[in-house]
């Protein structure tokens, strides 16, 4: 009788551990789905950077190209933005990105970043790669950006290497929307310092042909009574 009680106790303990494990796994899946936006269109956005590598952000991305060549791309000290699309040949959700075309966004170039040859199939990459974006194999980039899942995207400001935002989306179209939103947020006055907003004004005036000292700056507002 005592033996039965002991066995029953062990079985119950094992079941408790099993159920706890299942609940934890379920919670982890839900958390990752939530991080990826859960496929809900309205929630897709490039989040502000959540983490950087211990070594700081990459200033250059160096890797191999699918034809066996090598390449290095500046993520700092240059101009425009770089959209890094972390993809894999074995990820089912990446299929839409390999088959589709990256959005054409002004001053933004897209790099399709896979892991290195030790983890990817160069032959499969050659078959999948598109003419609309450069494919580069770099495990170091994956590690630097701590890519949590694929597909994953990171938008870099090439002037200073700043990570503008990162996140995931199921289609190129939504990635384009995310990028546009992230750039709009970046330009929003709430995100800019007084100095930056003054520089924006100077730039806007210069584009209109109004330089410092221009007499038009000292005229009263048109139609203004104040």
């Amino acid at each position: 009788m005592e033996a039965l009680v002991v066995i029953e106790g062990i079985v119950i303990a094992l079941l408790v551990i099993l159920v706890a494990g299942l609940l934890r796994s379920h919670a982890e899946i839900l958390r990752q789905l939530a991080e990826l936006g859960g496929g809900e269109r309205r929630e897709s956005r490039l989040h502000p950077p959540r983490r950087l590598s211990r070594q700081g952000p990459l200033t250059v991305l160096t890797g191999n190209t699918t034809d066996g060549g090598s390449a290095t791309f500046a993520l700092s000290g240059s101009r425009g933005h770089t959209l890094l699309a972390f993809l894999s040949t074995t990820c089912v959700a990446c299929g839409a990105f390999w088959q589709g075309t990256p959005p054409e966004l002004e001053s933004i170039r897209t790099l399709l970043v896979t892991k290195g040859e030790e983890a990817e199939s160069p032959a499969e990459l050659s078959r999948l790669e598109t003419n609309a974006a450069t494919t580069v194999m770099s495990t170091a980039a994956w590690e630097s950006f701590a890519v949590p899942a694929t597909p994953y995207f990171a938008l870099i400001d090439n002037r200073d290497g700043r990570l503008v935002g990162e996140g995931s989306a199921p289609t190129w179209e939504q990635v384009g929307e995310m990028v546009n939103r992230a750039l709009a947020d970046e330009r929003h006055s709430l995100r800019r310092s007084t100095r930056e907003r003054k520089a924006d004004t100077d730039e806007e005036l210069a584009r209109a042909g109004i330089e410092p000292g221009d007499p038009r700056l000292f005229q009263p507002p048109v139609g203004g009574d104040r």
């Binding site: 200033t59 250059v60 160096t62 190209t65 034809d67 066996g68 060549g69 090598s70 390449a71 290095t72 791309f73 500046a74 700092s76 000290g77 240059s78 101009r79 425009g80 770089t82 170039r109 003419n131 609309a132 974006a133 450069t134 090439n158």
Partner: protein
């Protein structure tokens, strides 16, 4: 500075520069694709022509593009490639009429040379002929760091 190496070429690129070294391969039609390297002070586009097609259209006035095209060992010893060593460039070398694709404001220079039993064509394009003196030091810095084996 970032180091880029491949196909017996190694170069140190200044901050903001990027580059690609294409591998020598045999094409499906049996033709041989030569080693070609591109180094640029601006973001390189996805598909590059050997002599900068697709990239020169994106250049601003302060930009430079450096192309190294390897003509291989068969060209070594010919009069065209008689010059030994990686050349540097001067403002007076640049010519608006030498461009593979003529774009207003741009100019270029072309040099042929041999290093390590390999015959190369060096082709440099600047975004602005008038302001070329601003970018030539960086071009020569790249050329000076180039190692060929």
């Amino acid at each position: 500075m970032s180091l880029l190496a491949g196909e017996g070429l190694a170069v140190e690129l200044p901050p903001g520069w990027e580059g690609a070294i294409g591998r020598s391969t045999e094409l499906p039609d049996g033709a041989q694709r030569n080693v070609v390297a591109h180094f640029a002070s601006f973001p390189l586009p996805p598909r590059l022509g050997d002599f900068g097609g697709g990239a020169v259209d994106l250049m601003d006035s302060g930009d430079a593009l450096v192309v190294l095209f390897d003509y291989g060992q068969s060209a070594v010893g010919s009069a065209l490639f008689a010059s030994e060593g990686v050349p540097s460039v001067m403002a007076s070398d640049f010519d608006r009429d030498i461009l593979q694709k003529s774009i207003p404001g741009q100019s270029g220079v072309q040099r042929f040379f041999t290093v390590a039993e390999r015959a190369f064509c060096l082709y440099v394009v600047v975004g602005s002929h008038i302001d070329r003196a601003d970018v030539i030091p960086a071009v020569n810095q790249v050329l000076g760091s180039l190692r060929i084996s």
